[in-house]
């Protein structure tokens, strides 16, 4: 199609990135070390409670792969004053929803409920922080449940957990960074109540956690409830977190896996990126770069791989194994993944991706393109901040990972301030360093 003139409906002035609505944050630390962030906001009569423990898959000892996630399941199996199933019944029977999830560097538990259920939610979270029921019976039950979770998400489907389970083995070297965070069945099946008690004692101390409360409540009342219910959790020593960073790759790496259920191939590439916490200024350009490369139909890779060269069935480039650039500490990486037809070789795709990075590195990023990417970033941050749970989780993660809940509020301005030259420099750095490539080969007949 020839170049066309756009009509006047498209605004000519660049859109200025709006900021998040102001949320006053209140912070306190209990005597037992629990860090608390309160973010009152009365726009809707709902509240969110999020408890983030500073332990994730990376902290699992050898022989205990998958334990952080298994333990997350067990935390729903009752506590001192709430028998098995009662946590769910209290939250849902109050009109709320709940969940928990296990990440590389933390494990979180959260609920969002009608405002009138806040005290009950705080009671429930405090009860399991103080004393979860860790019996062999419930652990055995949850081992079965987790095995079905792994079967449904990994073993019984093509591309199961690709590439987050397999790429780290190529991109990293240490056990902490490479092991299977879902867990080997052998490790899972041998987990005992003693292991759980020890894990709880080591990592679930109040001083190793952050509590964030957001939504429709009075700060004074919430402070009183938090102090009453969480204040009684006995202080314990907090673990020393070992550094999980790794030196840069010294050569390109390449590996293949055969997926017995897949009929078409897939490709993943990983690059190391700067420390997202201690070198944030160096890290942020990679966030903008990943959006420029891969977000939306207008992005470079969508244009090149999908629309122009028809090399891929789908493509994605993102930071962090799970696609959230701000939920992990060092080491972390920029990931690319694509599904492609068998007629396209992995080499063709790799060349195209590197070409596009080189083009950003040498050709730079124009004002209009940067403005578009910044507008998309602003829109996505605002959209995530609309639900009270999204806001509250970002405050908890900010406090835990970055030491400051305000990080979530400052992020839009920080990202809007990333200059075009920094994005080009990040692309140049990626071209200069070594990468880890993982090819998924189809093992099933087409």
């Amino acid at each position: 199609m020839p170049a066309v003139e756009a009509t006047a409906i498209v605004a000519r002035v660049p859109v200025r990135a709006p900021t998040l609505p102001a949320h006053p944050l209140h912070r306190l630390t209990l005597d037992n070390g629990l860090r608390v962030v309160l973010a009152p906001d009365s726009t809707a009569p709902v509240v969110a409670v999020a408890v983030y423990y500073d332990v994730g898959m990376r902290s699992e000892p050898m022989g205990r792969t998958g334990f952080a996630h298994l333990f997350e399941h067990v935390m729903f199996q009752g506590s001192a004053h709430l028998p098995k199933l009662e946590h769910a019944r209290q939250v849902q029977g109050s009109g709320g929803v709940f969940n928990g999830s296990t990440h590389l560097d933390y494990t979180n538990y959260f609920e969002v409920l009608p405002a009138g259920a806040l005290e009950r939610a705080l009671f429930c979270e405090a009860d399991r922080m103080a004393a979860p029921l860790l019996t062999q019976e419930t652990i055995d039950n949850q081992i079965d449940v987790v095995k079905e979770e792994i079967r449904v998400n990994v073993l019984n489907r093509p591309y199961g957990a690709f590439p987050w389970l397999q790429l780290p083995e190529v991109l990293y070297d240490t056990f902490a960074n490479t092991h299977n965070g879902y867990g080997d069945f052998v490790d899972l099946e041998s987990a005992t109540a003693d292991d759980a008690a020890q894990f709880f004692d080591s990592y679930y101390a109040p001083g190793n956690a952050v509590l964030a409360v957001g939504g429709d409540f009075g700060v004074e009342q919430a402070t009183e409830w938090v102090s009453r219910y969480f204040g009684r959790v006995i202080a314990r020593s907090t673990p020393v977190r070992p550094p999980f960073g790794e030196p840069a790759l010294t050569e390109d790496r390449h590996a293949e896996v055969i997926d017995p259920l897949a009929t078409t191939p897939a490709l993943a590439i990983g690059w190391r990126v700067p420390d997202p916490v201690n070198d944030l200024d160096a890290y942020l350009p990679y966030v903008v770069l990943s959006e420029l490369m891969s977000d939306s139909d207008a992005s470079r890779l969508e244009q090149r791989l999908i629309h122009r060269d028809h090399l891929a069935i789908s493509q994605a480039m993102y930071l962090g194994l799970f696609g959230d650039p701000f939920d992990a500490r060092n080491a972390t990486g920029l990931m690319f993944q694509a599904h492609h037809a068998s007629q396209t070789s992995a080499a063709q795709l790799i060349t195209a991706v590197e070409d596009e990075l080189a083009s950003v590195a040498s050709g730079g990023v124009g004002d209009a393109e940067l403005a578009r990417v910044q507008a998309r970033i602003a829109a996505q941050l605002l959209r995530q901040a609309d639900p009270v749970l999204g806001r509250t989780q970002s405050f908890a993660a900010g406090e835990l990972i970055h030491g400051r809940a305000e990080f979530a509020l400052e992020l839009p301005a920080r990202l809007a301030g990333v200059a075009a030259e920094s994005v080009a420099a990040a692309a140049a750095e990626l071209r200069a360093q070594h990468k880890a490539v993982l090819e998924l080969k189809p093992g099933a007949g087409a």
């Binding site: 859109v15 709902v46 949850q142 019984n156 028809h310």
Partner: protein, 461 residues
């Protein structure tokens, strides 16, 4: 388990002071019911706008009915809808694909187009300042999408690859098998476009289908966010002024009857898990017993605190995430029950699911169960409509059945009034094993024998 046996775990704090009792629930102030401003534009487009300035964003949905006329055209309609939705943003009379994508991104938007058996749906969020741009571009797409031949041909190949990939996913295979069992040759049985039909599609066909079917009458525009409704109605009126076309009948044919007897077994050699899928007829949102059925569904398997989760997951460890729910489509509503279970326990899991269905159908639920489900239904409705995106999607879904925002208020009242007897009555009618069809996708060598002891096995249709 009791609190006595567990008190030794409380790190020495064994005193049961008064404040260790479960805190009470406080009646929260009621959330504001969404005040929707509705207008029918001169071209017939129904427009629904809600001011919800929680963040400086706007959610936009445009729903256009696209039902198949009958069974004979179902495969063609599904394939065309699928390729149309994938190709619709490849250019307009004024813009090529890249220009359109750039202009959307410039205001923070990422327009998606999807198709199912009932409708086409455009969906995006946009920065507040970019709403008029998005409405203008949306109007440009519906009035002049160009479907360039070369790009459509490439997308047809990509769609074929995506379908082929989807067909290797057990969840997709299971959904298709249940839909065929429940809907026979009704268009709803077509949950995935047929590869051979897709392969035969040409750009000219899409252009013609677009002209015939993408019309303002029967369509609904929903806008929720940091907006002034009167301004949005003016903007939409102006943006969509050139989108015209006569009204046409667009009614989905009614759902057929199905034979609930027997278990359909779809063999998936080597599977390490079985996908159990059960389904049957349900009542829709307009029905007086809809609220009772929703609460019955919750108690049975609709949330974590349900009987199904307690039985299959928390007691037996058969499955990770069992679930039941009510699907509301234009032609009718359906109850759907899903559980992915270990191969070795497949028949036992089906048996336990049937047992829980029988318990619902034959015995009253407890007052505690009803109260919990009621509060959950009301609470989660408030949560899901508290965000711009949630409210926009809810209103769009209601519009698909010709319902307005006031339905939400009526529904809340209905939920508040449901009794144990009401739940018993709808359970007997809609959750009886004898009225539901069961489908299992799994390794037949491992599950056939034991499943056969529960019911006659049927071959997939």
């Amino acid at each position: 388990m009791t609190t006595e046996t567990s008190s030794e775990l409380t790190n020495g704090d064994t005193s049961e002071s008064a404040d260790m009792a479960l805190p009470p629930l406080i009646e929260a102030r009621a959330g504001r019911a969404p005040r929707a401003v509705s207008a029918t534009l001169p071209n017939g487009l129904d427009t629904l706008v809600v001011r919800r300035p929680t963040v400086p964003m706007v959610e936009v949905r445009l729903r256009i009915p696209l039902p198949a006329a009958n069974s004979a055209t179902a495969a063609a309609t599904t394939a065309r809808g699928s390729l149309m939705s994938a190709s619709m943003l490849f250019g307009t009379a004024q813009r090529n694909q890249e220009r359109l994508a750039n202009d959307l991104a410039a205001v923070g938007a990422d327009l998606s187009v999807s198709a199912d058996a009932d409708r086409l749906l455009f969906s995006t969020a946009v920065l507040r300042t970019g709403l008029s741009t998005v409405l203008g571009l949306l109007a440009e797409v519906v009035t002049s999408a160009s479907y360039p031949s070369a790009e459509v041909a490439a997308e047809r190949d990509r769609l074929g690859q995506r379908i082929a990939m989807a067909l290797t996913q057990p969840a997709v295979v299971a959904r298709m098998a249940r839909s065929r069992r429940l809907f026979g040759d009704h268009p709803y049985a077509q949950t995935m476009p047929d590869l051979s039909v897709v392969a035969g599609l040409e750009a000219a066909t899409l252009r013609r289908t677009h002209r015939d079917r993408v019309r303002p009458y029967g369509a609904t525009l929903v806008v929720v966010g940091d907006v002034q409704p009167a301004t949005v109605v003016r903007q939409a009126t102006s943006a969509f002024a050139d989108w015209v076309g006569p009204a046409r009948k667009s009614r989905m044919m009614p759902l057929p009857d199905f034979d609930p007897v027997g278990i359909t077994l779809v063999d998936r050699p080597g599977a390490v898990q079985s996908n159990v899928r059960i389904g049957g007829g349900a009542v829709g949102r307009r029905d007086p017993v809809y609220a009772a059925l929703q609460l019955a569904n919750l108690i049975f398997g609709g949330y974590f605190s349900s009987r199904l989760t307690e039985n299959l997951r928390e007691r037996n460890g058969f499955t990770y995430s069992p679930h039941s729910g009510i699907d509301n489509s234009a032609a009718g509503s359906t109850i759907l029950i899903d559980a992915d279970v270990a191969s070795a326990v497949t028949a036992r899991a089906v048996h336990e699911t049937w047992y829980e269905l029988g318990r619902m159908a034959l015995a009253p639920v407890t007052q505690d169960e009803l109260d919990s489900a009621r509060r959950y239904a009301l609470g989660t409705l408030a949560l899901s409509t508290a965000t711009q995106a949630g409210l926009a999607s809810t209103l769009t879904s209601l519009a698909g059945q010709g319902l307005s925002a006031s339905w939400l208020t009526d529904y809340q009242k209905a939920v508040a009034g449901v009794t144990i007897a009401d739940v018993q009555a709808v359970s007997h009618r809609y959750l009886s094993v004898s009225s539901l069809a069961t489908v299992v996708v799994g390794d037949a060598a491992l599950v056939e024998n034991s499943l056969g002891s529960l019911a006659a096995l049927r071959k997939p249709g």
